[in-house]
Symmetry: C3
Subunit: 472 residues, 3 copies
Amino acid sequence: FKNGLFVETEDKAFNFKIGGRMQIDGGFSSSADTTSRSNVGFRRAQLWIEGKAYKDWFYRFQYDFTNSGTQGIRDAYLAYRTKLLPESITSQPVTFQVGNFFEPFSMETTSSTSNITFLERAMPTVLAPSRHIGAAVGVGDKLWSVKTGIFSTSPQDTATAPPAGESQYWDVAARGTYAPIQQEDKLLHLGSSFRYHRPNNTTAGTNGAFLRPGAGTEREEADILGASGTWSRVPVAQDLSCAPPSNATTNATTFNTSVTGLAGLYYPFARRSSCLKYAYSYGFEAAATYGPLSLQAEYIATRYERDPLNAFLYSNGGGSSLQFSGYYVQGSYFLTGESKAEVYNGYDKNWSSPGTFGAIKIKNPVNKGGWGAWEIAARFSELNLNNGGLVDGNFVYAATVAGSAAQKALANTATLGGRQENLTIGLNWYPVNGFRLQANWTRVMTLVAASDRPFLNGDHPSIFLARANVFW
Amino acid sequence: FKNGLFVETEDKAFNFKIGGRMQIDGGFSSSADTTSRSNVGFRRAQLWIEGKAYKDWFYRFQYDFTNSGTQGIRDAYLAYRTKLLPESITSQPVTFQVGNFFEPFSMETTSSTSNITFLERAMPTVLAPSRHIGAAVGVGDKLWSVKTGIFSTSPQDTATAPPAGESQYWDVAARGTYAPIQQEDKLLHLGSSFRYHRPNNTTAGTNGAFLRPGAGTEREEADILGASGTWSRVPVAQDLSCAPPSNATTNATTFNTSVTGLAGLYYPFARRSSCLKYAYSYGFEAAATYGPLSLQAEYIATRYERDPLNAFLYSNGGGSSLQFSGYYVQGSYFLTGESKAEVYNGYDKNWSSPGTFGAIKIKNPVNKGGWGAWEIAARFSELNLNNGGLVDGNFVYAATVAGSAAQKALANTATLGGRQENLTIGLNWYPVNGFRLQANWTRVMTLVAASDRPFLNGDHPSIFLARANVFW
Amino acid sequence: FKNGLFVETEDKAFNFKIGGRMQIDGGFSSSADTTSRSNVGFRRAQLWIEGKAYKDWFYRFQYDFTNSGTQGIRDAYLAYRTKLLPESITSQPVTFQVGNFFEPFSMETTSSTSNITFLERAMPTVLAPSRHIGAAVGVGDKLWSVKTGIFSTSPQDTATAPPAGESQYWDVAARGTYAPIQQEDKLLHLGSSFRYHRPNNTTAGTNGAFLRPGAGTEREEADILGASGTWSRVPVAQDLSCAPPSNATTNATTFNTSVTGLAGLYYPFARRSSCLKYAYSYGFEAAATYGPLSLQAEYIATRYERDPLNAFLYSNGGGSSLQFSGYYVQGSYFLTGESKAEVYNGYDKNWSSPGTFGAIKIKNPVNKGGWGAWEIAARFSELNLNNGGLVDGNFVYAATVAGSAAQKALANTATLGGRQENLTIGLNWYPVNGFRLQANWTRVMTLVAASDRPFLNGDHPSIFLARANVFW
């Protein structure tokens, strides 16, 4: 036992750990939109319990107390690991995992927030799936890993329950990683991810998470400055949903509970078919470390295939095929000489999220009279939620708000969710294991606003955030 | 310490345990009503802490993270155990318990969900009380137990707060068990329960839990397939409440907060008296085990005594005395030879819920190269929420929805909450202690619908549910 | 490890503790207002984890499960302690603390609810700040302590988020304590606290916590008897806020989210300036113990400085400077001879809340055949939320409800939040460490009602509350 509690039987067949994490944030921003100029708060306050039973059986339950009820459930799974493959392929057991955990997609997304370089994950990760309930199988070894699974909804996903009498959505996701170079202070990591999404009739019709990806973006750069988002928000795009008119919606949800007369019979006709046929995402990642210097980059894209006939029937804008994408490039340098290469976790060290970085090993921690570890870092990231015919932002704004029918139709040919480029500079101090103080300064270099908020066009807001971080 | 964490001082005067339980469900149904065709989710995600202090003092705090706030509190009590009775009566100490725990009623209800045979408790248990805040006293020995207590509201019971200036409801409950045969592979268990309920003015007037028992039924067979219930729902009965007209209701709840003028004076006249005088429930249970075969059955009934004058004044339907009841019979067989007889918990082993089964002892667990334990099971259960003059369902439906005054009056003589018979078949696999995979298939054999949803009459929906279960 | 779990490495550089607390309440009241006559419930159900890492680094995370989401977070901080001052000043290290914890203000407020003498803190503590997120520094020794820090909002403070584009409020608080006498059975403790509050534009305009202090009072005497307060409620004072008219309010909150047209431009003019310039609180405390007898008293006052021009523009009542205050005096006597003097925690024993009492040491606990510890106690407390020109309560009521313009203007010169004097008598039984049974009877001796509920004038409600308390 070190910072937290870890107990193990002598034969190592059983163990038990209580872990936790607190992230206390404070910061201010130069502007804009719906955010406060300054605020403080808890970004995460998590506890988890994990155990090993009878050598091969594992469980983990993690809860974030900044959420309430089911939405606070994070990792919550059980797993069975057994040696199935010959030694020539891998010396590691195969992993079967059931429960709620990250879909295998993207290095940055599946990394622990205790170990990522900046306060918040890079913008493009809004296109990557979060934790979902499902079943997965993983194989790998020190240098490579493949994990794939089938997933459905998530405890955090409360907005997308399927309508009565219909089925839940499902995903298939996979990620493979390979580290051709892995030495004590040198590392080259390559990886790729894919995810296929089959919506349910709710998500296909109205779910923001799939048809209005910009809606979720607001939370990503910094959650703390305002209840409903940050200044670097890329706002909601045009309505691409096939949401039925409000009257039909009411019928839909109340069909079996209060519409007991003939009115119930109209419902199947009033109900709209779904617009989204399916969506898929793909991503590529690379990381390289040379001594104290490390570089990391990812590209993620999501493609939405829609039913053109339904979109036409409901006068929906946007094309029948939409693509949103983003990328980031980041570098960090340890002034005190630590190297991320030695804490790279292959499948042998982290079978749930292989191919990520663990907590660094501080060379001269404060408790031994040193200065701890100091790291400087920079990241450039871009997220592009525009799609289709390019139209000048202000024109679209006027057209959608006050335009003639012709203008609106023209504006409708494009999907303008906005485009944003951010530069973030960071400084991290690791005094002793388990404690980290972080400061980030982010400036929006380019901001092409979404069609519903043209006043953000050309703005260059900046934000400063500091965090006190403890995990055990 | 085994799967979880358990520590004890050498003299056994103190101990401390961290337990937990995760139940991850997925399934699909053939139909109907307000449910999804398929879904996945967490049925329970609990942690608990329990301790022993100074030999005789106990505490336990259990929380279910699929609820939020106070509603997630499960077992939360402190207890004191002391030797009061002569050895000739019992060798065990008497237990005094204060806090939130199961009212002593019904074997199935007070059994842990980690150990019940099927995914969900049998339908008739909707007539049994759940955990409530109160004080209880228990005595017993290896073969017998008696537990009784006085209880009031529950942290999960948020809908039944008394009106301002009035008192909370209260219950008296008792359960006795006796096991005339208890050998290593043979068991005969008999038991009986009783509960008296005195409503408060809210529950007597409007509370679904007491006058509309069908309202709660929807959750029991399977919580996971839909936010608001399952296909095997027995819907809300006719209005038996004495709920005041909406205007008076408003006055009632706002009397002291916003009605500061003369209007407040009208309130006592506008407020209705309660209809329910009291209610009582009783149950009988039996369980028998012979080697790997075990049988279990219960009958539970609840009787509501109402004030006929008030019911008349407010034109309420139903008689002045209503009775609802249900039963189940279930059998299970361990293909791998385990017996439930050896894990029967008398008062000596489980003083909080005596007379229930614990976790089975797996003969050949997977970690020793065996196949684990395999169990097949079947259950037939019935719940009858009809009462009073028998009227054809479709007629009542027409009468209540579109009928003449005479028809309505006729329909009103009966209380038609519906009647349902279910057959459930289950398969359980216990690979190692603490892990269990379960699959249940349920078919509704008879479905007499409640008066407000005649379209369910004669339907035979089925449901399939699988669960991955871990507890430590 | 005793009641709970506490582990430590041999060199004492690391430790880890799991603590918890359950308070199960039940009681009844003679009247009035919005409360139930009887009820039961959980007052607190908390768990916490605290640890020491590398000797000098500390963390603590505490959660109350009777709240949900972020609001349940209690103590949640990390701290670093290091020897900076010469031995001649103090032998103790200086403490730097970041996170959510009590602002250093008032002995009663910063004491643990497991150790305070009565069920609820005294009335005047509603004028003291609770836990807030901030950074503090503390120094002290066995006999003295000084703690000061800068704070901002709190996880429990969800009503006071600043408007979009504006900054969060902040506080500076400090408390100093000194114990000129500290022997095994004699103690004299003196202390003083100060807090400066700079509101944000929400709290300055509308926040009840700062301009309507009476609004919070209702919870303090007893939370359990009713969802929204107790009979001893001192209700909301007149409207002292500069809350904009409802229309402008709507604009304010929706400016950036839905007012996309020209209407948005009006907003800065419709928005009112803040009325509150700043507020400050101060308090004095004293405690004395002589053998089994102990006395404790505090006086707390809060002063609100307002902008007279804005108050005039928005026709706000009350003066430009308001002062609310309260005090309590309490005594307790251990019939079984224990003394609070020996459990006084100086900075050397409790660096987070120095100058408070810990859990008493029971002389003859029940587990050793004794009777436990028995304590009798009495408290007299007063809270005065009246201010400005004294006006007869019934007159003001008539004036504000039905008066002429002249009457209203006259009534407006005063701020009548009410005044209340309570007498509380208590009996505590400590059978063994960690368990405590408590009973309190409170009678309102004087009740001058707030201007909006004159019917409470001269009422003398009483309340009885009992609690079963366990902590580990």
